[in-house]
């Protein structure tokens, strides 16, 4: 397996034997795609990762913590969006005068659903991508 992300330890065990020759035209392609049907073949990068893979208590806690944080982040962002989007039909029902207020010449509710919803979605997505990346970097630091 080619790791372009960080240097491999020099003393790592030899990797699983490469797959038998096939009739593909592109040997590089196969070199990049290891024959990994099972997880026994996962190559731990170092001791901390080994711990996770061997499901020691410490490793399990680390992974559990990462999954929990990511899930909590996902649920928070989803909730922020759903409350607003699913709130809009209720607003339409309960406050018809308010949602018909003109903004830029269009009723507020039309503007919200035909225009504003898209930049809002995008902002939430940007926040999620940067935060989840941060969590992953923190996890990587801890494991290293």
């Amino acid at each position: 397996m080619k790791s372009s992300f960080r240097s491999e330890p020099q003393d790592r065990a030899p990797f699983e034997a490469p797959p038998a020759a096939t009739d593909t035209d592109d040997p590089d392609l196969l070199a990049e795609l290891p024959s990994l049907e099972t997880l026994e073949a996962l190559q731990p990068a170092d001791d901390a990762l080994q711990e996770i893979a061997e499901q020691t208590a410490y490793g399990e806690i680390l992974l559990e913590e990462l999954i929990r944080r990511q899930l909590r982040l996902g649920i928070s962002v989803a909730a922020a969006f759903l409350i607003l989007l699913f709130g809009l039909p209720l607003m339409n029902l309960l406050f018809p005068e308010l949602v018909q207020m003109r903004v830029l010449g269009l009723p507020l509710t039309w503007l919200a659903l035909a225009v504003l919803v898209y930049p809002f979605l995008w902002c939430l997505a940007v926040y999620y991508v940067s935060t989840s990346r941060k969590y992953e970097d923190e996890f990587t630091e801890l494991v290293k």
Partner: protein, 531 residues
């Protein structure tokens, strides 16, 4: 019917360009990996263009503008829900699915639980969704060719169907990645330019709003008196929702079906495998959200313009073809014909890119999940390539044959049905499979079967026994848009089934979770598909 030559030339031009790229792609697509997954050499922007190109179908390109014109405000929930689906895909599915290394959803089903039987169940739903989704595209092609060339409905279906089938059979995933990315930009251009030109010629967005609702021009006034929707058009719970027994319930069930359906569409999820790693999968989704968000600003504008400038379409019942008719209403005939050529090219790009993506997914399910993983596991690369090409031809022919019989259905409704199955069968499976380690194969399979089965049954009932002319009741709304109850039932079945069979939790579940969630920066990476 009048023949619009410029538009017909644009139409033929897109078809020929697609065939040309397809032929070129046969030289590029040499290996199984090229055909199935484009060798994962696809960057986020190109991949996002291809996903957006694949996703923005005939229903989005022609259907939404036409439905906004027909029904007004309530239709805006469709594009908002379609776009929001990608947020949920991003939050709960994109990166882990990529990290797991599964190519198809059936791969995930088998890989996560080690159950070949579950792969077959998932494969059946992939095929069902693929066929359901392909039909509206083929129908859109028939309608467009009818409008543009005055040829019979079946000509468009057969011509577009054959070009795409051939293209996919020859080029596979790698070939269509470039075609779909190109077709996204064709569509983005084709929907934004006419909107800008028409607004520049006729007046502003808000001026059209006034004309469409409070001060209709004489032609629209006449159409309203002849039965077109009146001022309720611009209001929530207007002509679309008020025909339902419970307008609020209808609105929510529509939203749930579009949002969670998008997040479970197999032909979109297949494309995430072409990302380099989990983080790239997230960035791709981010770019997709920007692209389709920009795109969806325009169909409501065009629907509004259509209501003001082409109200005769209400009376002829041809609002589906609004985008192709609207440019002809410009005072300048040449400009009108040129814009019609642009929208025709966009429409054609829409059926081609979506149908080709679906064909790749369906042919992939048949060739990868059925042939290579189940029937003939020892098949070599050459045999698997042959199987993929044969599966593409077979699926294309079947879809064309069915499409000829569905002329009378509204195209967006058909897409809604495919979405309900994706939302009820696959979304719960993916979310619980990725985030809940106590999920067992018994619970997951039961939930997939129950959710997908109930959604399919409700939809088939609406197709054959429901009468769209009868006033809708709460029950008929729940059957026509079943996702609002089938998703909770599916989740519930999965949780209950898993809690009842705790001994069936996969023994290697911790490794599966590790594979799903550990970032690639640790240098730990694996792919489910080996050779």
């Amino acid at each position: 019917m009048q023949v619009h030559w410029i538009a017909l030339v644009a139409f033929a031009g897109i078809a020929l360009a697609t065939i040309a790229v397809g032929i070129y792609a046969t030289r590029v697509a040499r290996t199984t990996h090229d055909v199935y997954i484009a060798s994962r050499a696809v960057g986020p922007v190109l991949n996002a263009s291809a996903i957006s190109g694949e996703y923005l179908s005939a229903a989005s390109f022609l259907g939404i503008a036409g439905m906004v014109m027909s029904f007004g405000y309530d239709v805006l929930w469709y594009p908002a829900g379609y776009a929001a689906g990608y947020l949920f895909l991003l939050l709960f599915i994109a990166a882990p699915l990529r990290r797991f290394g599964a190519y198809t959803i059936p791969d995930f089903a088998e890989g996560r639980f080690g159950s070949p039987t579950f792969r077959r169940i998932a494969m059946c739903f992939v095929l069902l969704i693929g066929i359901f989704y392909m039909l509206p595209q083929m129908k859109g092609a028939g309608v467009a060719v009818q409008t543009i060339a005055g040829l019979p409905y079946w000509v468009g279906v057969v011509v577009v169907g054959s070009v795409i089938t051939l293209n996919v059979a020859l080029g596979g995933m790698k070939g269509i990645t470039f075609v779909q990315a190109f077709q996204f930009w064709v569509k983005a251009f084709a929907i934004s330019v006419p909107a800008f030109v028409l607004l520049a010629v006729f007046g502003s967005y808000s001026a059209h709003w006034e004309w469409a609702t409070s001060s209709p021009p004489p032609a629209l006034q006449a159409a309203i008196e002849a039965g077109a929707p009146g001022s309720a058009w611009g209001q929530p719970f207007g002509p679309l929702a008020e025909r339902q027994g419970q307008p609020l319930l209808f609105t929510y069930s529509l939203m749930i079906a579009t949002v969670f359906g998008t997040a479970g569409l197999p032909h979109i999820l297949v494309r995430f495998y072409t990302n380099r790693d989990g983080h790239t999968a997230r960035q791709t989704t981010l770019v997709v959200l920007a692209m389709i968000g920009l795109f969806y600003l325009f169909p409501p504008i065009l629907g509004l313009l259509g209501r003001v400038h082409a109200p005769d379409l209400y009376l002829s019942g041809r609002t589906d073809a609004l985008l192709l008719e609207l440019p002809g209403r410009l005072p300048d005939r040449l400009l009108g014909e040129l814009l019609r050529a642009v929208t025709a090219a966009g429409a054609f790009a829409a059926f081609m890119s979506t149908t080709s993506g679906l064909l790749v997914a369906v042919a992939g399910a048949l060739a990868h999940d059925l042939y290579a993983r189940t029937l003939h596991p020892r098949a070599d690369l050459r045999e698997r390539l042959r199987a993929f090409r044969f599966a593409a031809l077979l699926a294309g022919a079947v879809a064309m044959a069915i499409s000829l019989g569905i002329e009378r259905f509204h195209i967006n409704m058909l897409v809604g049905w495919a979405f309900a199955i994706a939302a009820s069968a696959f979304f719960p499976l993916l979310v619980l499979g990725i985030w809940w380690r106590r999920l067992t194969v018994v619970g997951a399979a039961a939930g997939t079967l129950v959710g997908g089965g109930l959604a399919s049954a409700a939809i088939l009932y609406t197709m054959w026994a429901g009468d769209p002319l009868l006033p809708a009741t709460t029950w008929s709304t729940l059957l026509a848009q079943p996702a609002i109850w089938t998703i909770p039932v599916s989740f519930g079945t999965m949780v209950l089934g898993s809690l009842l069979t705790p001994h069936r939790v996969p023994p290697d579940v911790n490794l599966k979770m590790l594979r799903l969630h550990v970032p690639e920066t640790l240098g730990l990476r694996t792919d489910y598909i080996g050779e």
